[in-house]
């Protein structure tokens, strides 16, 4: 819905005429959708704004409160959660806020604005012997810790996940206040996000990101980690036939498959406890093939080849040695664990050329588009919580039965129905996910909506926890889950009402201030 002219002008006064638009072509480019919907373009924003700094963000938020208009901020806008929840929502595309404000090498943190992308931050860090968490959505996405869904990625074993990496934060609340968390508020320093007293980090993010529902996070500091690899990967070739020319010294790659999920999870647990892995990523072979193939044909050829070679579910491991002796030790322990858990290495990817390429892709996180979209143009997923063992695996086993049914019906791409589990923080936490790929047809969309609903219901009925999937999608799902989970919906709603009394921060990925009728 077009903004009233005076209101449009008020926003224009904030950002300048070059940084606001309601041109339908521009609006459509912000309404592209990749999920289970038949229409490629969804709800349009009322206008797109490009604020350049915190002051402009604050001014826009204040105008939204004045005129009763909602806003949705996004960083790199990759997620469907950055789409509008209704016709009267203006977009704050934060692409002009693209500075790495600080890399503090000695104290291991980086401060970023929302449009710093992960590969950019990582490239700067690697030059300094450091690395960062990158979400599985890809290195092309924002490095800003709030621009995420659940915030985990392939390197979670050694780089944790976003909610736990956040330090100080600058937050423009839905009422237009600027709150500086932790040491930033007290001292103007970025090193700590908690206190004085209770940590306000708690109201800004949970086991999933707020997805636009609680204001705008204009700057944030995030923990960074040691990197023992090269400052720059030596790449040869031209896209898409490009890869590093070698495996960096003290790096090791393997893909292992196991007779059953039981052994696979046990191997992950032992690897975690022995603190040897830089990365343990629960790719199934379909995802592995997508990482390697440069075309659909190649992708399928790899998949068919690997399918014949594996015993069952599997994962890839990357070791990184901080010294030659550290590397040798880690390799020996890994070999022993794999022997004990009956793992088998997938031979074709032992080839140093292929392994080198996979190391690079799995650290720069270059393949998520291929993994998710190549087969059918669309994907969806059922996500568990953040426990690597026990209930997550039980949940995934149960959901994979639903997936296999849809595969049988020819609705989903046949990847043998596998799910992924992968650990964070050396197995203290982890993630489980079941990815489904499909073509967007009315028939498939119906089936997939049914699949998601059934997966959610299963999580409630069988006590599998509050899944990550729940957040960022439909806000009324919280009202379905909350009564089974400490009434958290009631509490989250109270926070929403207190911090966003005019409901201007678009809640389509959060919880609405007012409970919808008919939802218990």
């Amino acid at each position: 819905m077009a903004l009233d002219k005076d209101i449009y002008r008020a926003f224009e006064d904030v950002v300048g005429p070059d940084n606001i638009s309601d041109d339908p072509a521009i609006l459509d480019s912000y309404s592209y959708r990749w999920g289970p919907q038949t229409e490629t373009f969804g709800q349009r924003f009322a206008a797109i704004t490009l604020p350049k700094d915190t002051a402009e963000v604050q001014a826009i938020v204040r105008l939204c409160n004045k005129y009763g208009i909602q806003f949705k901020a996004s960083s790199t806008g990759w997620g469907s959660m950055s789409n509008p929840g209704g016709p009267e929502v203006i977009k704050m595309d934060l692409r002009r806020m693209d500075r790495i404000i600080e890399i503090n090498e000695k104290n291991m943190y980086a401060v970023v604005e929302p449009y710093v992308i992960s590969v950019q931050l990582q490239a700067e860090l690697m030059k300094r012997g450091l690395n960062c968490n990158i979400i599985g959505a890809g290195g092309n996405c924002s490095a800003h810790p709030y621009a995420a869904h659940y915030g985990g990625g392939h390197m979670g074993e050694s780089t944790s996940l976003r909610e736990r990496n956040i330090l100080a934060v600058e937050w423009v609340t839905p009422e237009g206040e600027i709150v500086k968390l932790g040491s930033l508020g007290s001292l103007g320093e970025w090193f700590c996000g908690d206190g004085p007293g209770p940590s306000l980090r708690g109201i800004t993010v949970g086991h999933a990101a707020p997805c636009g529902g609680i204001g705008v996070f204009t700057k944030a500091a995030t923990k960074i980690y040691h990197w023992a690899g090269p400052p720059i990967f030596p790449i040869e070739g031209v896209s898409p036939q490009y890869a590093p020319s070698e495996i960096p010294p003290n790096f090791f790659y393997r893909y292992y498959s196991f007779p059953s999920a039981k052994e696979m999870v046990e191997a992950q647990r032992r690897i975690g406890e022995s603190e040897i892995a830089f990365e343990v990523m629960g790719f199934n072979i379909a995802m592995l093939a997508s990482n390697m193939g440069t075309s659909n044909d190649e992708d399928y050829a790899y998949f068919e080849q690997f399918r014949k070679l594996i015993q069952g579910p599997g994962f890839q491991v990357i070791l990184m040695g901080n010294s030659p002796q550290d590397f040798e030790y880690k390799k020996q322990v890994l070999e022993q664990i794999i022997r004990e858990t009956k793992g088998e290495s997938l031979k074709p990817v032992e080839d140093p050329k292929i392994a080198g390429a996979l190391i690079w892709r799995s650290i720069r996180i270059t393949a998520s588009i291929r993994e998710c979209f190549r087969a059918g143009g669309a994907f969806s997923a059922a996500l568990g919580g953040t426990h690597p063992y026990g209930e997550e695996v039980a949940y995934m086993e149960a959901v994979s039965k639903l997936k296999k049914d849809l595969i049988k019906k020819g609705i989903l791409r046949d990847d043998d129905g596998y799910y992924l589990t992968w650990p964070h923080e050396h197995g203290h936490l982890g993630h489980a996910e079941i990815l489904i790929q499909f073509r967007q047809t009315p028939e498939s969309i119906d089936a997939i909506m049914g699949f998601s609903e059934a997966a959610m219901k299963m999580a409630i009925d069988n006590r599998y926890g509050v899944p990550h999937s729940l957040s960022g999608m439909a806000p009324d799902m919280h009202d379905m889950f909350g009564p089974h989970a400490s009434n958290y919906n009631v509490w989250q709603r109270r926070l929403k009402q207190a911090f966003d009394p005019n409901e201007v921060s678009d809640s389509s990925g959060y919880i609405k201030g007012k409970q919808q009728q008919g939802v218990s």
Binding site: G197, G202, I203, H207, Q325, Y329, H478, H484, A485, R494
Partner: protein
């Protein structure tokens, strides 16, 4: 005043006290916070009692002060902020509810102390990441809720660690479970499907545990908490590195934590190390102190299930290489202090009497979070201020604890003094508040403010205070939970 019968009906008559001597015990502590006598002390037996107590307090607008640890208390946070309060002493709630080896997590009630939990987790091959030598009566939950620093920075991924989930009765009288514990289902039902109440964040898009931590009991009363545990090493090799050059030690600490090579890792000045290691005061203490270099770094290398000897031996080589690059040498003993003896000491709570009280009978701590680069400036400023106030530098203990995997450092000045000596006490009291502004100006972040200096610290940032008050208005709208603390 609240009706005693109503309290007795909830917790049983024997668990309510208004005996003047008992009330006196809770009226003050070792801090400089003004004593205020509570009306009653109650000892709930379980979560149901707590639920009823909070609901009664809500109806009668009675202030509740939750206390988990036993005396002596040091920070004034368990002294009632106003009159008419009821102390809710949770120290009798001592159930170790569960120890789960596979998921490396334990679940305990608030009265469980480190001394009680350590053997229980050890039986399962686990250990705790605990604060430096907590006093014998210190509650595990109390320590975690206070975000106390822990001695193994490598396993301290996030400042909220090792806390996982909690069950809490908010000031509204409603029960809530944080993180993975929220549900669906009862805790027992969750166990039955393999869940472990380990994930702290959530449920959904809020991390409630972060709002309960650091709150000094102002949001609600925790009835149990789960916590991360670490594996018990199969072998360990501790080291000491003495030096007069703090910057070199900090450089070494940076690499040890960055490469995650070591488990326990902290720096003590000679005063604190002597206070911890001395068996007889004052002679033994003085001898050790005089024989030590100004600073000593302690670290410990560990091997676990797989090839432990190999791991230890290459990690010793790697740490020695790094130390050499910084011109330092890790050794097994520095003067009369052996690394092994110190390791044994810090893997348990303090022996009695509490190490901070052994030297002079009293100790006031000034502590904050900072980053390594700022430490030398902060320490020298503190010495100057102590000097100006007439407090002898030779009595000031310093403890530097890398936290959050070396991203931050907890810095603690331990001002030992004789509480029976009024002029000494007054000097320390003044120093405790007069230093705050200057330290903040030099990069000290007081993330856990207590007592008299709270206002100076917390009022620095009006926007954060306003946000905290909004949270408070949701979780404890009637201000029954420990009123008068922080900005509430």
């Amino acid at each position: 005043m609240i009706d005693e019968k109503k309290l007795a009906k909830i917790v049983g008559a024997t668990n309510v006290s208004h005996n003047p001597a008992t009330l006196e015990e809770y009226a003050g502590d070792m801090s400089f916070v003004k004593p205020i006598k509570p009306d009653y002390v109650v000892k709930p037996r379980n979560a149901k009692d707590i639920d009823k107590l909070v609901n009664l307090a809500k109806e009668t607008l009675t202030p509740l002060v939750p206390v988990s640890s036993g005396a002596p208390h040091f920070r004034g946070d368990t002294i009632p902020g106003i009159g008419g309060a009821v102390i809710v002493d949770l120290s009798d709630m001592k159930r170790i509810i569960r120890v789960d080896r596979m998921n490396r997590v334990a679940m305990v009630e608030p009265g469980v102390t480190f001394e009680e939990l350590i053997p229980a987790v050890e039986k399962e091959g686990l250990r705790l990441n605990m604060p430096l030598l907590p006093r014998k009566s210190k509650s595990v939950i109390g320590s975690m809720l206070e975000r106390e620093p822990v001695v193994m920075p490598k396993y301290h991924w996030d400042i909220s660690d090792p806390l996982a989930c909690v069950e809490v009765i908010f000031g509204t009288g409603e029960m809530f479970r944080t993180g993975a514990a929220a549900g669906p289902g009862t805790i027992e039902e969750q166990w039955a499907v393999g869940a472990s109440q380990k994930e702290a964040a959530g449920p959904a898009q809020v991390s409630w545990h972060r709002l309960i931590q650091g709150a000094q009991g102002t949001m609600g009363i925790v009835t149990w908490a789960s916590l991360r545990c670490e594996l018990l090493p199969s072998i360990e090799e501790p080291f000491l590195v003495g030096s007069s050059q703090l910057d070199k030690l900090l450089e070494l600490v940076h690499w040890l934590t960055r490469l995650q090579l070591v488990n326990e890792c902290f720096i003590l000045n000679n005063i604190n190390l002597a206070a911890i290691m001395a068996k007889k005061f004052p002679d033994d203490y003085q001898d050790i102190k005089d024989s030590l270099p100004p600073w000593t770094l302690f670290f410990n290398i560990a091997g676990y299930e797989y090839l432990p000897e190999k791991r230890i031996s290459y990690q010793i080589k790697d740490t020695t290489d790094i130390a050499q690059r910084t011109g330092l040498e890790p050794v097994g003993a520095v003067s009369r202090v052996s690394a092994l003896e110190l390791l044994k000491a810090v893997q348990r709570p303090s022996k009695e009497p509490y190490w901070k009280l052994r030297y002079q009978g009293g100790c006031h701590d000034i502590f904050f979070i900072t980053i390594n680069d700022k430490l030398p400036g902060l320490i020298s400023a503190m010495y100057d201020m102590a000097d100006e106030a007439g407090y002898p530098a030779s009595d000031m203990g310093i403890y530097l604890q890398p936290i959050v995997q070396g991203v931050n450092c907890h810095c603690e000045f331990n001002l030992f003094y004789d509480p029976e000596n009024p002029s000494q006490s007054e000097r320390v009291r003044k120093l405790a508040t007069s230093t705050i502004n200057n330290l903040m100006a030099k990069g000290a972040f007081f993330s856990r403010p207590y007592g008299e200096s709270t206002d100076i610290i917390i009022n620095r940032d009006a926007a954060s205070v306003a946000a905290l008050k909004k949270v408070k208005s949701i979780l404890d709208p009637n201000h029954v939970m420990n009123p008068g603390k922080l900005c509430f």
